[in-house]
């Protein structure tokens, strides 16, 4: 029985002859009208992917600090200038800076408010000054006697009455009530620097800049994503091609192994491998790569099998082409587009798994600037610092979204079944 091409939408091939010369770029452009959302998905995701790759290569674009240094106070909310610890003293006191106290032989009475971090900050500042003095050869030393007052007002009245020589407190709180104490004025920040730095995404529990860690984190994520996917691609694809084309025992054995691995929860396997190998970026990459070999294997084998059954391969055999040229020219080029699509979705999965491993504490060494680790550390302070878990999470989601949308859009465009309508 025969069924001539009865699709009433006239066969495209006829006017393709005249319109065949539509330029590639213009065809991509007018593709928009036809593919709709999928076209937008691919375009937007390609820009996002490009952006992340750019940041991975040049993190300093966003990161103004080294991700590991402590560059500001701890738990500084995003965008806020730090509430500095300042010295408040009587207008008539001639105390210039902390160093002047070094010459005093007895302890200097310093007023602080009960429970504020000021006592700790002033003491660490004093240590810093003493270290400088000692380095400078002088054996003078700043010695302080910390006097704790219940409230800020009591402390300020203490300073005015001279009960304490000077007081240390939060700049914001003191300036708010300074008018009631005309005799007092704010000398300046205890560290001496002018105006505290604010951080667009705030600082974490050690005082590291969250934004810098995000920027450097993208480098780790992409390294894991690309290398793991390439690793599984270079093993999975050739195996899949060979199994699909040659069939027989080779195919049966490998398919059984790959199917068992495929059905097994990959993350558990990765956890086991990463845990035993120990935290290092190579081990994480190996663990994730092993996970995705079956994915490539299964899809490429399936594609090869269906292509092999195609008439054009049988025709190739009939013209006397060698096995290798059939593989190279008749099967491989038809399988490649789908490998590209799996590759992009696979990178997304690899990054997700990498972040999951570090979140579980099994991935990278704790010091590396990695989103998973930031999320894990952030969870402990979820009540206190919401931004610690929010921004790394958004970063992971955006990069994974970019690669998945790229894969999803391309899959929709290349999938002949869906294009039929």
């Amino acid at each position: 029985m025969h069924d001539p091409m009865l699709d009433e939408v006239p066969p495209e091939e006829q006017w393709q002859v005249d319109l065949g010369e539509v330029g590639l770029f213009r065809r991509i452009l007018n593709g928009r009208r036809w593919y709709g959302v999928d076209w937008w998905m691919v375009v937007i995701s390609s820009f996002m992917v490009a952006f992340f790759i750019l940041i991975a290569f040049f993190p300093t674009i966003l990161a103004s600090y080294d991700p590991l240094d402590q560059v500001g106070p701890r738990f500084l909310p995003p965008g806020e200038t730090p509430d500095q610890e300042v010295i408040v003293q009587r207008t008539d006191s001639d105390l210039e800076s902390l160093a002047d106290l070094a010459v005093r032989d007895e302890r200097v009475r310093t007023g602080v408010v009960q429970g504020a971090p000021s006592s700790e900050d002033i003491r660490s500042q004093a240590d810093r000054v003493n270290a400088e003095l000692e380095a400078g050869g002088s054996d003078d030393e700043v010695r302080l006697r910390i006097v704790r007052f219940d409230t800020l007002d009591e402390m300020l009245t203490g300073v005015t009455t001279g009960d304490v020589e000077f007081g240390v407190g939060s700049n914001a709180e003191i300036t708010a009530v300074l008018d009631d104490y005309p005799e007092l004025f704010i000398r300046g920040p205890i560290t001496g620097e002018k105006g505290g730095k604010s951080f667009p995404l705030g600082t974490n529990q050690i005082g590291q800049d969250v934004l810098s860690r995000l920027a450097w984190g993208s480098r780790i994520a992409l390294i894991i994503g690309f290398t793991a996917s390439l690793f599984s691609l270079f093993i999975g694809v050739p195996l899949g091609l060979l199994a699909g084309y040659t069939g027989g025992k080779f195919d049966r054995v490998f398919t059984l192994i790959m199917d068992s691995l495929y059905a097994f929860p990959g993350l558990i396997l990765a956890i086991a491998i990463a845990a035993v190998l120990g935290p290092s970026i190579i081990n994480v990459i190996v663990a994730i790569a092993v996970l995705y070999i079956p994915t490539y294997y299964r899809i490429v084998r399936g594609q090869t099998l269906s292509t092999k059954e195609g008439l054009h391969v049988e025709a190739a055999v009939s013209i006397g082409a060698t096995k290798s040229s059939i593989m190279r020219r008749y099967i491989f080029p038809l399988v490649i587009p789908s490998v590209a699509i799996i590759f992009s979705v696979n990178i997304a999965d690899a990054i997700l798994t990498g972040a999951a491993l570090s979140f579980l504490g099994l991935g990278l060494p704790p010091t590396t600037a990695d989103w998973g680790i930031d999320l894990a550390r952030g969870q402990e302070f979820i009540q206190r610092a919401w931004w610690l878990i929010t921004f790394p999470g958004i970063a992971v989601m955006l990069i994974v979204l970019a690669f998945t949308m790229l894969g999803e859009g391309l899959m929709e465009i290349f999938n002949p079944k869906l294009r039929k309508q």
């Binding site: 029985m1 001539p4 091409m5 006239p10 066969p11 006829q14 006017w15 005249d18 593709g31 309508q421």
Partner: protein, 333 residues
């Protein structure tokens, strides 16, 4: 033969938008189907015959849509009906049979379920048993054993399934059956059996059948009247004997003579030049003029109307039969 008209298509135009532009699969087509006749709709792929079938049922889905025209059926212009009113007519008054019997039935539903569902959709008041009884009668009428009514579609052969499709139409006493390439997917002998069945059913149920096919032999064997379509328009319409033996339109002549005929020895096949037209930018005037041996300037300028050449319903859209001075001459062949 001034029979009563069952379905009258007036200036129907259907457009598909493809990546490369809008395509008029059916372009301003006017055609009447008389009550109780078998009208053969024949043409090559891309000529719009299948679209016409779907258009008559208003089941064209994106990317196609009906741009204009009227569809008069039993005194009502179907274009004015709401989707709900239209779905009452579909299946109940107009039935459709598709090409590939293998995929036209829901694999997860038994044959009885198909039939009962169709019957109760249009006659909700009918009880389950009554519907089943009617289904059993219908199936027996079409030569399918009663005990097989509860089997699943995959348990039937191609020929059997096509009969089940007919049963689904007849179960609702549809007045018009639109059969879109009903025999194309069948083997020669089963195809012949199916054509005999259609002929006997037409008598028994006074059916009107629109037979859409590319197989010119099938049309010659079964149709009372035939309409030859080319590039979305009707090239020639008329009683099957006068169209086959006294062909008027140059395209129909070429088409009907390029089919191998098993009854003719040492046959000389007619070889038509050129290829089907590009429907995005169809040729000006008569769409067949680039391939027509008789074409003159008039043909390239304006479109020929459908003229009644013989006076008794044998129409052709070709300038030869107009009375214009600069019309093309009709050397036979």
């Amino acid at each position: 033969m001034t029979a009563e008209t069952l379905y009258s298509i007036r200036n129907l135009t259907v457009e598909y938008d493809t990546r490369i532009g809008g395509v008029r699969a059916v372009d301003d087509l006017t055609l009447d189907i008389y009550k109780g006749e078998i009208l053969g709709l024949v043409g090559e792929s891309g000529c719009g015959k299948s679209t016409l079938g779907k258009g008559m049922m208003r089941t064209i889905t994106t990317p196609g849509h009906i741009v204009g025209g009227e569809l008069w059926f039993e005194g009502v212009d179907l274009m004015t009906l709401s989707e709900l009113e239209m779905s009452n007519i579909r299946g109940n008054r107009i039935g459709m049979v598709f090409q590939d019997p293998m995929t036209s039935l829901n694999p997860l539903m038994r044959i009885s379920e198909h039939l009962i569902e169709a019957i109760r959709t249009h006659y909700p008041r009918m009880s389950e048993d009554a519907a089943r009884a009617r289904a059993v009668d219908m199936v027996k009428d079409l030569g399918i054993r009663e005990e097989r009514i509860d089997d699943y579609p995959h348990q039937f052969s191609g020929g059997m399934r096509q009969r089940i499709m007919i049963a689904l139409v007849l179960a609702l006493n549809a007045a018009l059956i639109i059969a879109d390439e009903p025999t194309t997917a069948l083997d020669v002998i089963v195809e012949a059996q199916f054509l005999d069945l259609l002929r006997s059913l037409r008598e028994e149920f006074e059916l009107t059948i629109l037979l859409i096919t590319h197989n010119i032999g099938v049309v010659a064997e079964l149709a009372d009247r035939v309409a030859v379509m080319y590039a979305g328009k009707a090239a020639e319409v008329g009683p099957v004997e006068s169209v086959f033996l006294d062909t008027k339109h140059p395209y129909s002549r070429g088409l009907l003579k390029s089919v191998p005929n098993i009854d003719v020895d040492d046959q000389e096949l007619f070889k038509m030049t050129g290829a089907p037209p590009n429907l995005i930018a169809p040729p000006s005037g008569c769409r067949f003029h680039p391939r027509c041996p008789r074409a003159v300037d008039l043909c390239t300028d304006d479109e020929p109307p459908l003229i009644d050449v013989t006076g008794d319903g044998h129409l052709a859209s070709c300038w030869i039969y107009s009375d214009l001075p600069n019309r093309p001459t009709d050397g036979v062949g």
